[in-house]
């Protein structure tokens, strides 16, 4: 038997809401899946689609992007800008065959430690069911191989 598949998930979160929410989950001793690597950014407005591509390039099976609820942004409307960008980028990725189910977006406030823990657990489960992102991983492996001709 091979090792059971453990998905690698990258989470890009804003520091004011979701990161604080993750903190709360921790201090509240809530249990959540250890599959997520959290990367903290000042605001969802700072989360460039380049980050998503980079995470995929480094072999992520799933990605979570999360920030403050609409209206709660520390910078007043960074998350509104982000929301538009996600909408468009999401459609683009879907069109090129990068499954929507692998890239999730959420609003999690500093008070929602429970939501954070639940979400991480459910995403991890979902991605586990989807299995590794083989199609993309194959492209990565190709870059490691010698020239074919």
């Amino acid at each position: 038997m091979s090792e059971p598949f453990e998905p690698k998930i990258t989470a890009f979160v804003c520091t004011y809401c979701t990161y604080a929410g993750a903190d709360l989950a921790g201090t509240s001793r809530l249990k959540y899946a250890p599959n997520v690597r959290i990367i903290r950014l000042p605001c969802t407005g700072r989360i460039s689609p380049m980050f998503i591509l980079k995470a995929l390039q480094k072999g992520a099976d799933g990605i979570l992007i999360s920030g403050c609820h609409p209206g709660d942004c520390h910078f007043t409307h960074g998350n509104y800008h982000a929301r538009r960008r996600w909408m468009v980028f999401r459609a683009l990725l879907a069109f090129t065959g990068i499954p929507e189910e692998r890239i999730k977006y959420s609003w999690i406030s500093a008070a929602e430690g429970l939501k954070f823990a639940d979400l991480i657990n459910s995403i991890t489960e979902d991605i586990r069911k989807l299995g590794p992102f083989d199609q993309y991983h194959k492209l990565i492996e190709e870059t490691q191989a010698p020239a074919s001709l």
């Binding site: 870059t143 490691q144 020239a147 001709l149």
Partner: protein, 337 residues
């Protein structure tokens, strides 16, 4: 009587070469674009193309070639080398311009320091060129003193038969003879006449152009700006060119492990010569186009005694703004009169 390879035997030949451990490569049609690629059977080959969209150079100088894998620990740097895939290969159905292009670049990759990525592939490849019986309006080999049936760079030259049923075989090198020995029993002696090679009209006077380019006064001619006004600075001409050989070296990966690669690069790009200080010796598109022409028809021949152009015409054929070497040299021909 000459040796003839009949088309209906080609599949057996491919099979024979493959079972002898050779990789068989030839022009193939991919989705909406043609290129040279490995094939498993002769049916995959598209020998009716005037010319594959992409040149033969990528078989010897891939667009991205991994060179070194590095692995860094606290006290050590470990590197391992990527070597080009070894083993003999036969490129069936090259065109004379593509084959000549390889021969043109040999001295460049070999002067002083030998680039093994190029030469290992060169030494293990048999190039079977088929003389052209058709051309399009962009073909210009004859203007470069080459011809649709030039033998430069080829190991075997095939001349299509008039009845279209096969090819007369001209063995040019030992390497070619060796490869065709493997299929000797599939060849026949015959007297079927070869079809006439296509006549490609001369479009410019390369010697006159060379003279004009050598004159230092013309370096600052207003001509360069005028001829390149519409150039958008993409790399399509250089990347499709069988002789353009410029490259970049890039590390991909992280600080601890990754791969150092050799990637195509182009003198058309503004960043090609940009210094870290911000100073750019060739800061305008016209300077870059001048460099491309000068390099191909003045500097390169001065060093390696051949124009760095084999007249395939791809630069013009695929140019998004309908520029190219042909037009520029035609204009220079006029100027030099």
């Amino acid at each position: 009587m000459t040796k003839i390879l009949f088309a209906d035997k080609l599949d057996s030949c491919v099979e024979r070469w493959r079972s002898a451990g050779m990789t068989v490569i030839g022009p193939v049609q991919r989705t909406n674009s043609s290129m040279y690629d490995a094939v498993k059977s002769a049916s995959e080959l598209d020998l009716n193309l005037v010319l594959a969209d992409r040149s033969i150079k990528e078989l010897f100088f891939p667009q991205s070639e991994p060179m070194l894998r590095y692995n860094i620990t606290k006290s050590e740097i470990n590197t391992s080398e990527f070597l080009p895939p070894s083993g003999p290969r036969i490129i069936f159905g090259a065109r004379a311009c593509d084959a000549s292009g390889l021969a043109i670049d040999d001295p460049l990759f070999g002067w002083d320091y030998k680039d093994e990525y190029w030469f290992q592939r060169r030494n293990e490849s048999v190039i079977v060129t088929i003389a052209c019986t058709k051309a399009d309006e962009f073909c210009m080999c004859t203007s470069l003193k080459l011809a649709p049936d030039s033998t430069k760079g080829s190991d075997i030259l095939l001349r299509p038969l008039e009845n279209n049923k096969g090819w007369q075989v001209e063995e040019l090198t030992d390497r070619g003879r060796e490869a065709f020995k493997k299929v000797a029993d599939l060849l026949q002696e015959g007297s079927d006449p070869a079809a006439a090679t296509v006549s490609v009209p001369e479009k410019f006077d390369a010697d006159a152009c060379a003279e004009w380019l050598k004159n230092p006064e013309n370096f600052n001619s207003h001509f360069w700006k005028e001829i390149s006004l519409r150039c958008i600075g993409c790399g399509s001409c250089t990347y499709l060119c069988p002789t353009c050989h410029c490259f970049d070296i890039q590390d991909e990966g992280g600080s601890f492990e990754g791969i150092r690669r050799k990637n195509w690069d182009s003198c058309s790009f503004a960043l090609f010569t940009m210094h870290t200080s911000g100073h750019n010796p060739r800061s305008t598109q016209s300077a870059r186009w001048r460099q491309r022409i000068m390099h191909k028809f003045n500097y390169f021949p001065g060093k390696f005694s051949a124009n760095s152009c084999s007249g395939c015409g791809r630069c013009t054929r695929e140019c998004p703004v309908d520029m190219g070497i042909t037009e520029t040299l035609q204009e220079i021909s006029k100027l030099s009169q």
